[in-house]
Amino acid sequence: MSAVESQSADAKAATSSARSRAIKSLDIGGLILTLITVIFAVLWAFPIYWGMVTSLKPESQVISDTVEFLPRTWSFEAYWHVMVNTMIGRWYVNSLVTSLGVTAITLVTSALTAYALSQLRFPGRTVLWFLILASFMVPLTALIVNHFILMAQLSLINTWMGVILPQLIHPVVIIVYKNFFDSVPKEYREAAKMDSASEWRIFSRIYLPMNWGVTTALSIVIFIGAWNNFLWPFLAVSRPEMMNVAVGITQVNDAFGVQYARELAGAMMAAMLVAVLYLIFQRRVTQAIMLSAGVKG
């Protein structure tokens, strides 16, 4: 692990020195590229900025004849309203519980499955592996009606478990883990075997810790995905107190007509946690997306 860290420290030093060199020899081409990048960044970020500004306006100023880039009067009324008059606290809890549940269960089951596929020899291993690869080809939305019927039969509609279960299907996580476990040199496994380690110990004390980086990266991506998931949590829950944030904020709209500031305040609050998480773990998220993209590509 620390080898990796020192490597990335080296890389950082290298990029920063490369950057200072680049600044010295700033050329026209680079300038144009930078400008284009900035323009795209602004275009991309503007809706977010606009949403944030709007959520901070009093409802009466939201619709006006002029374009106002900053609120004339700053107001937290919309936020206050969402917090007091909706169940956003409860929705947050629901989102947290179901997203963490999805993340934890997916990681544990996928890592174990991947370990078995990668390291153990058992009858049916190849068939299982191909089934997983095949399931990768089926879009989850194609199964959503089946999921609904199944959850209904299990009386799990309007429960956390009902929200969690169908979201646990993540073949790509198994594939990523398997690739990493495959690339651990076999001497470690052999050394552990000579050290009397059971399969469970080899998995939990050698293979998993040797791949912590993958686990954190995957966990962030799964968590953010589950948090932002709308369709299934929307179908699986009809009682407001069981809703996730993403589903719940649509209720702000329903209950009070189109109230842009309030609606956007709800959206901002829903997105906040993910945004903060993303800012903290930016590098890991990119890494994880590249990992799974590498698998898909």
């Binding site: 692990m1 001497e187 470690y188 052999e190 050394a191 050290d195 009397s196 380690a197 004390r205 912590w212």
Partner: protein
């Protein structure tokens, strides 16, 4: 009690046979070196003893118990891997403790044993570091430490020195010899470096082409190689092989001659020698540049000055190359015509199949 017996052990990977009916007996406390060219099956044989590779046929006994069907951890052997395979995320202490923890050794005892081993190997100050923070030599010690704490019946080492630079290699070789002397455990050491084999081994197992060519002490393997392969593989520079034109019986021993050269009297008994397609084997140190004009003729091709001696690569009239030795201070130049005195007493003769014929052993020799 920790002797190792291999009985007709064979190994195939699929249809490819890698080892063919290998048998040997290793006494408790021996330092055995498996020596042979790359791909001859040394690692495979070692891994079969460790239990990391299944035995296709044959039996392995360890300390009187048949072990070839047992999992690695039940055989009581420890292995040091070529790349050490230290768990990168664990400290040195945890690396060394892991095996003991797995079998439920009490904590106090683990700490005791790890500390003892660390003191013996002088790695106490490294116990809290991770493998990435160690030098190659230190990693090597930790790998050995990890083996020692388990107090195994036998240590299996697969080219443990090959990742070290030349100087460290020599030092570690010495330390390994001292360690063996101190703990008196059975050790099996795989290498294709003949210097390591010569310096470390109580006995060398020379392997080639799926089989054991010879098992013997370093000096036996050097002075009385069983086959032409062993003769050529052990020793540097490699032994000279010169085709024999004819042999005659002189007082019971073979006297040989090359094309157009004076005869050489060897100490190899004449009886029992096949008569055709024989080759003389003689080491450079027994082929001296002659000062008095006797010996066979040759022309110098290349001169290698090693300081304490000089190697002279000569071309004989039949175009065979023969490496002879001269003193460290030597005036010989390429192109010189020289005469080479061959010491027939230490020469050996090989038949067509490569089997060696030696002088009769003198007492104590």
């Amino acid at each position: 009690m920790s002797d190792i017996v291999l009985k007709d052990v064979s190994k195939s990977f699929g249809a490819v046979s890698v080892l063919d009916r290998v048998s040997m007996r290793i006494e408790s406390g021996e330092f055995i070196v498996f020596l042979g060219p790359s791909g001859c099956g040394k690692s495979t044989l070692l891994r079969m003893i460790a239990g990391l590779e299944e035995v296709t046929e044959g039996e392995i006994h360890l300390g009187g118990r048949r072990v070839d069907q047992l999992p690695p951890n039940e055989r009581g052997v420890a292995m040091v891997f070529q790349n050490y395979a230290l768990y990168p995320h664990m400290t040195v202490r945890n690396n060394m403790s892991f095996g003991l923890q797995n079998v439920g050794t009490p904590k106090v005892e683990i700490i005791q044993r790890v500390n003892d081993a660390a003191r013996m190997l002088e790695i106490e100050h490294l116990l809290d570091r991770k493998p990435a923070q160690l030098s190659g030599g230190q990693r090597q010690r930790v790998a050995i430490g990890r083996a020692i704490v388990r107090d195994p019946k036998a240590f299996l080492l697969d080219e443990p020195l090959s990742n070290l630079d030349a100087g460290l290699r020599v030092r570690t070789r010495l330390e390994l010899a001292q360690l063996h002397h101190r703990i008196k455990a059975t050790m099996i050491f795989v290498t294709h470096d003949q210097t390591e084999a010569m310096t470390l081994a109580t006995r060398i197992v020379v392997m080639n082409n799926r089989q054991i060519e010879q098992i013997g002490t370093p000096m036996e393997v050097y002075s009385r190689p069983a086959t032409r392969f062993v003769a050529g593989f052990v020793g540097s520079p490699a032994m000279n092989f010169v085709p024999i034109k004819s042999i005659t019986d002189v007082g019971g021993n073979a006297s040989i001659s090359f094309a157009g050269q004076p005869p050489i009297h060897t100490a190899v008994p004449f009886g029992g020698l096949p008569k055709n397609n024989l080759t003389l084997g003689i080491r450079a140190e027994a082929a001296r540049i002659s000062q008095d004009g006797s010996g066979i003729e040759g022309v110098v091709d290349v001169v290698e000055r090693l300081g304490e001696r000089t190697l002279v690569y000569c071309r004989l009239p039949d175009q065979t190359t023969l490496v002879a030795e001269d003193n460290g201070v030597s005036a010989i130049q390429p192109g010189d015509a020289v005469r080479i005195a061959l010491d027939g007493n230490v020469a050996m003769i090989f038949d067509e199949a490569g089997k060696a014929y030696h002088a009769v052993v003198q007492q104590g020799g």
